[in-house]
Subunit: 335 residues, 2 copies
Amino acid sequence: MNVGDLGEFGLIERLRGILPPSGDERLIVGIGDDAAVWRSGDRYVIATTDTMVEGVHFLREHAAWQDVGWKALAVNVSDIAAMGGVSTFALVTLALPPDTPVDALDGVYEGLGACASLFSVTVAGGDIVRSGEFAITVALAGEARTGADGAPLLLRRSGGRAGDVVAVTGTLGGAAGGLRVLREHRPTSDAARALVERQVRPHARLHEANAAVDAGVRCGIDVSDGLVQDLGHVCEASGLDAEVWLDRLPVDPALREGFPDDAAMMAATGGEDYELLLAAPEEIIERLSGEFEIPLTVVGRLVDGASHTVRVLDADGLRVDVGAGGWDHFGGADG
Amino acid sequence: MNVGDLGEFGLIERLRGILPPSGDERLIVGIGDDAAVWRSGDRYVIATTDTMVEGVHFLREHAAWQDVGWKALAVNVSDIAAMGGVSTFALVTLALPPDTPVDALDGVYEGLGACASLFSVTVAGGDIVRSGEFAITVALAGEARTGADGAPLLLRRSGGRAGDVVAVTGTLGGAAGGLRVLREHRPTSDAARALVERQVRPHARLHEANAAVDAGVRCGIDVSDGLVQDLGHVCEASGLDAEVWLDRLPVDPALREGFPDDAAMMAATGGEDYELLLAAPEEIIERLSGEFEIPLTVVGRLVDGASHTVRVLDADGLRVDVGAGGWDHFGGADG
């Protein structure tokens, strides 16, 4: 058996089983959430890492090097925000073929630096290794917000309760649309350019995630693998089922313009939007919605159930099959 | 110009210059030491990362997969020890060709888990990505020891003072000897096996590094690139020159047996021993020497000077040319 047969999530479970159990009582969140959390003195460190490999996560002919650097950091900032925390320090690893042009790396670091400035992250170290293919790995640390009693305030996948509404920030499907534009070499239009921008320059919903934690939300995840798949992670971790209402999804307007027939399904399953998904009592979501400068849209609900999966329903309440739905980082293909 | 022309250290300097300056006053040690250090509440986090790429840092036909996993973590534990700290939590990133056998990964995690147990590290998360070649990246966090006033007690490259003696733990050159055995397919002997063991199963001098910090040592580095090169980093950071006495080096006995003609030079320049290099007043080193269960050998001295380089001297006090001397992670070849 090889790793391609097992898939990303099967592999994670298998490898987790091989490691010795941790007896470290400082560990608050281990393998299986957006980021790890541990206690360090009077604070809680949040840490995550994400790798982009040329040819898998981006193509040189599609992405400006500045965008590669930006995205490599932004997706990690999004993971820490999706735990409720604030990013602080990053370690950056470059795997480089010896013939990589120095200009390209300058570009990567310009983009990474711009993202670091925006989110107040300091690059504190890293590693450079020779490799057959270009890859950039960012390991990012941050801190959790804490309550008056000093306990960490986190957005956990496992924090959902039956009856919570499910809401997402911003719009969905744009990044998947951008990938499709890049792959199909569509003629340039404003909509196509907007979609590509969503794909290559993701933002992290830091402000919104911090506000959600402060408002009492305790369940969240960033939409990196696609709404259905990421909400599925919440279902598994919270021991609940979920309904998603397809006609309520905040579909990216450029996606609706560019791919009208597929837009709703792409919004349901497309990865890499890096919007924030929250599950909380409806009144909290309503209050937050009034505070945010971007839309916060209720798209579904957590319900009791035994399957711990997501049911996507159309406007008539009929179930829609979205297939495997979402991004398998290891398989690297839309399901 | 491509990155191969610039070399590892030139590249690090160039990229550091592109990043925006950090205004974060919590940063204590940034790019350019064994690990980064920052303040988090009442503690000091130490963080480092290191990548092993198949075909560059190990060959599948030479290394058992268990050894790959062990070494991937051990070299990071060594970096944090060489700052004076204790490791706590790790993030592990696997870059995998889809045809990687699952058995191989089981082996990697068995070795990594054994090393984690030995050094009380918990794997708290990570990432798995598809890739054309196998690579494993460990990002490791730890904590600094602190003094009675709460200030961090660190081993810094910049902590050397003129007149300090330079001492190393254990023996040198064994790992380079092991690499040579593997490359030359030498017939197996006890000495050859011992050298290979040094190469594929490095240890981290955690106990000794912590004891050194407690004894008042403030300058240290681990011998990963080779004694001359790593001491050169201390010279640059401390603004001093150094002398190394070739006949005083604690040459690995198996190296002396296996490669008698080259053993001393290999001990001076060979990388990956992961011994601890300390620079401190002689009386502190003498005291520590009595406490350690492994040898702590004085091999040279820090002296005032303008070149900030290392002079290797033979038994007659004559200078020995060791060439470029050491390992360039990017160039990937002994100098």
